[in-house]
């Protein structure tokens, strides 16, 4: 039985909600798993700490909220303070290394990987694709969603003229994941 709980968090404007949505869409529509995607709403989604949650399961999903995540993506220090602590052993913790300073004490038995997602996106000339770089990294590291599913989800979600840069961003994340896995 497959059952993954995933949380994406950061501050408003980083595309946190969209990132969670794409994970969910890739897993649901293209990988054909059961998926529930939920998000934080209201003013907090437009600034401050913001999060979205995805559950991917081979079974029907009754309770739709993330309680004990298996993977946590964090793109801001405030989100780290809220969602990066007390994770269960074996959890994937993925951070943007330029935006999140992690506390080694939080990393005991945690599979921590970091990436300069925002910097890479700036190198690509589009800071707004930092979330997509992170999604590539997430896909390569956790393999919770297929690469093909994720790419199709990105293609069917972003404006068509923006697809190429998003694809490049996603592939950059995947490459970094391969490097990071070798390093471990």
């Amino acid at each position: 039985m497959m059952h993954y709980q995933i949380r994406v968090s950061g501050f408003g404007g980083q595309g946190i909600i969209l990132a969670g949505y794409i994970i969910g869409k890739g897993a649901s529509i293209y990988d054909r798993s059961n998926v529930s995607f939920t998000q934080s709403y209201g003013p907090e989604a437009r600034g401050g700490a913001c999060s979205s949650q995805v559950i991917i399961s081979s079974e029907e999903i009754d309770y739709p909220h993330v309680t004990d995540p298996d993977a946590v993506i964090i793109m801001s220090q405030a989100a780290y303070a809220r969602y990066g602590k007390n994770l269960k052993p074996g959890t994937f913790l993925l951070t943007d290394s330029d935006l999140v300073k992690v506390d080694p004490e939080d990393l005991v038995n945690i599979k921590h990987f970091s990436i300069q997602a925002t910097k890479f996106s700036e190198d690509l000339g589009k800071k707004i694709v930092a979330n997509i770089v992170m999604l590539g990294f997430f896909t390569g590291i956790t393999e919770m969603v297929s690469r093909e599913g994720m790419l199709k989800a990105i293609e069917s979600t972003v404006p068509s003229k923006m697809f190429d840069i998003n694809k490049t961003a996603f592939e950059k994340g995947l490459q970094e994941a391969e490097k990071a896995k070798v390093a471990v």
Binding site: Y21, S28, S36, Y41, G42, D62, Y63, P64, T67
Partner: protein, 382 residues
């Protein structure tokens, strides 16, 4: 538009409206229902429908009633504060027997309450919110897929029984995104409008069939109808006396009450072995409830879930039957005692009844439901 989509419950509800035949949407922005209006504003102009943003929810409700008499299937969507404003003319829809659909994406309340967070505390307002005696049909989805399916169903029920139908969804379902299968148009069965069986000179607007349901032409069909919110006779003419009132209001009530079994829609989970403990729940809250049932079954407890798809009219016989077999019943809902009152009333002392409530703001966690079940079983009836 058909196929599989990854969409939230609000958008699914709008799509359900369109699949259900809705071609006029009138609404007013309110969290967490706004996405329904936004979706309708994107879709209706492209498919020959009308979207109009009204000046308030009172106007929205009236507008859909007018549209229905104009011959177009119509709907509105709102949340608690707007639902309160719609109550006045929900009553007009009931007494004039106007098919239309009203969606309430319930949020934490009373008053402005929790605009962005879940609640299920409008259930009794759905039942009794407009003044006077009447029965209503209210259905409650637990997922975006059901938000789509049940909105189609709402349109069909409203045409079949000639009454406004309420879709009592909530913020959690509205803002949750899951896979939704949207049917191609030729795969959707739609209830047609009950047009008059007789020509204008022989037809009385509020004559009715053996199920107490009338027919009606649209404005412009040449029937020269009179439609009024006053108590009226079969011709539709105002007659202000006790006799006419007695006949009309009893028929309005019986139109739903006596057809309850036909309208009823519920689903049992783990109910085949006549479980000792039965949870009654609806909408989003049925999901943690089902999670609880699965967990406790693993521990060997004989427990089942009755999920009400149609909450109003209340499925009295089903509840009564369960109550005569079960040793205890739990109503799990995101309010402090609404549908539970009905469960208890219908149960009439057959077995102990408990409510596992919540003041709103989040959905029940399975753990808190389990804890409350354990405490109640230990302490007995309050």
């Amino acid at each position: 538009m058909h196929g599989e989509f990854f969409m939230n419950g609000d958008i699914a509800c709008a799509e359900g409206g369109i699949s259900g035949g809705c071609r006029l949407f009138a609404g007013y922005p309110i969290t967490p229902a706004t996405e329904i209006a936004e979706r309708m504003s994107q879709r209706l102009p492209k498919i020959g429908g009308v979207f109009i943003q009204m000046e308030d929810e009172i106007a929205s409700m009236n507008c859909i009633l007018g549209a229905s008499w104009g011959g177009v299937k119509s709907m509105t969507a709102t949340s608690g504060p707007g639902f309160s404003l719609m109550m006045e003319n929900l009553g007009l829809g009931v007494i004039t027997e106007t098919p239309c659909v009203l969606v309430d994406v319930q949020r934490g309340s009373p008053s402005t309450g929790l605009p962005t967070l879940v609640g299920q505390a409008d259930m009794m307002q759905a039942r009794w919110g407009s003044h006077g005696d009447y029965e209503i049909i209210a259905i409650s989805p637990w997922s975006p897929q059901e938000a789509y399916d049940f909105t189609i169903k709402a349109f069909n029920l409203s045409e079949k029984y000639r009454t406004p139908v309420l879709v009592m969804t909530d913020e959690a379902v509205g803002h949750m995104t899951e896979k939704v299968t949207i049917l191609p148009e030729d795969k959707i069965v739609l209830e047609p409008r009950r047009k008059p069986p007789l020509p204008p000179d022989k037809f009385k607007l509020y004559s009715y069939d053996e199920k107490n349901i009338p027919w009606a032409p649209n404005a412009g069909d040449g029937y020269r109808i009179h439609v009024t919110g006053l108590t009226h006779d079969e011709r539709g003419y105002p007659v202000v006396n006790a006799e006419t009132q007695n006949k009309l209001v009893r028929r309005l009530v019986n139109k739903i009450r006596l057809n309850e079994k036909e309208i009823a829609d519920y689903k049992g989970f783990y109910m085949d072995d006549d479980p000792e403990i039965v949870i009654v729940s609806y909408g989003i809250t049925a999901r943690p409830s089902l999670s609880v049932v699965r967990r406790l079954r693993k521990k060997g407890m004989k427990i089942g879930l009755l999920k009400l798809n149609v909450v109003w009219p209340f499925p009295e016989d089903v509840i009564r039957k369960i109550a005569s077999i079960a040793t205890s019943m739990f109503t799990v809902e995101n309010n402090l005692g609404q549908v539970s009152i009905e469960v208890e009333r219908v149960n009439f002392g057959r077995c102990p009844c408990f409510q596992i409530g919540h003041a709103g703001g989040e959905i029940h966690s399975p753990e808190e439901i389990i804890k409350e079940i354990e405490v109640s079983l230990k302490n007995g009836h309050r």
